[in-house]
Structure formats: C-alpha cells, structure tokens
C-alpha cells in the first residue's frame, strides 16, 4: 500500500516548500504520496508546475485557513 508523507513547509517561501518536497521525494518509492503544507501561495502554483514538467502526478490542491495542501504522487 502506498504511504503518504507530510512535508511541512508552512512559514517558508518559494522555493523552500518545493525543495523540501524534492528532498522527501528522493527517499520515497514510486506510488508514494506526499502532502505538502504551505502558507505560500507561490508554492501552491509552483509545485504543480514542477510536477508536470518533471513527470510526477499532482493529485490535487486544497486550501484551508491560509494553508495549501498540495498532494503529489511519485511517478518515476
């Protein structure tokens, strides 16, 4: 079963949350999901763009009380 890890990038700014995601992606298996928490709107746009470029799946993004939850699945 796929694991889901949380990357807490709250309080940081672009490209901090993206870099934190990449550090964790390197330790994951294909199929694992990562949920990035970010208070930075730039990262909420940037992370899906990066996923599309690199070839990881962006599962979805939700926003709740100023915190974006960006869910990514390692695809390769």
């Amino acid at each position: 079963m796929a694991n889901r890890k949380i990357v807490d990038g709250r309080g940081s700014f672009c490209p901090g949350p993206l870099m934190e995601l990449i550090v964790v992606l390197k330790t994951c298996k294909v199929g694992d999901e990562i949920e990035v928490l970010s208070t930075d709107k730039g990262s909420a746009n940037e992370i899906p763009e990066w996923c599309q470029k690199i070839g990881h799946a962006h599962i979805g993004t939700t926003e709740e009380g100023g915190v974006w939850h960006i869910i990514v699945r390692k695809s390769k």
Partner: protein, 130 residues
C-alpha cells in the same frame, strides 16, 4: 538528461541579488536543466567557510526577507548542487585577490575556474547575471 543549460554569473554581494541567483540556480537544477554557476567579485566572500557576514540589502525587499522565513541563499545553492547536480565554480581571480584556496570555501563549490574555461562552458547556454 538536460532540457537546457543555464549559466548563472554572480558578482554582487547584496542579499536580493544572491537570493535571486540562488532561486534561479536551484529551481533550474531540480527542473532538468544543466546549471553552471560562477561566483566572483563581492559574491565570493560569502562562500568562505566560517565567515558569517550578513549580506547587506539594497532595498525594501531585502529588509523584508531578512525578517521572514525565506530560504537562505546558501542553502539554496547547496541544494542546487545536491538535489540538481549544479556545478558552482569560484572565480580563480577572486580567490587570488582574497588569498583563499579551495579548502577555504564551502564544500559544495567545485574547483577554481578561470573565465576562459567558464566562457567556453557557457557558450551554448543561457547566461543570467546577478
């Protein structure tokens, strides 16, 4: 596999310019680009081990960034190397003037490089100057 080559030349010691250069280098490096960085002039002293002189800011943004949790430019340059295989070259002329050797610089920097080699390496890439 590189989609393009990005060469980042950093000569300023100001926080805003170092930060922007670090952002370009790190994001490009983790996005499949081949990234070469060249540090010279006032940028290089920031990468001498054990020196913790804060980069001065040029204006409002730099002052604001200092008070917020913006990723540090040194961390971003290190991540560009570790996560994206960027190469960061200290300028050999600047090293001579500063009287420092490779062992005195942050460990994620590559060997001292002169302009002849850097210009040759950069000739088929985009060049960004800060």
């Amino acid at each position: 596999m590189s989609s393009s080559k990005i060469c980042v030349v950093v000569i300023s010691g100001s926080l805003e310019r170092l930060q922007m250069a670090a952002m370009v280098a790190s994001v490009a490096a983790v996005s499949g680009c081949e990234v070469l960085v060249f540090f010279s002039m006032n940028a290089l002293p920031h990468f001498i081990k054990g020196r913790h002189v804060k980069a001065s800011h040029e204006g409002e943004m730099g002052a604001l960034m200092s008070s917020k949790k913006v990723p540090e430019f040194k961390t971003l340059f290190e991540q560009a190397v570790e996560l994206g295989e960027a190469k960061i070259y200290p300028c050999s002329m600047a090293m001579d003037v500063l009287a420092v050797e490779n062992k005195d610089l942050e460990s994620y920097l590559s060997e001292a490089t002169g302009l002849t080699k850097f210009l040759d390496d950069a000739r088929d890439g985009q060049v960004w100057t800060f």
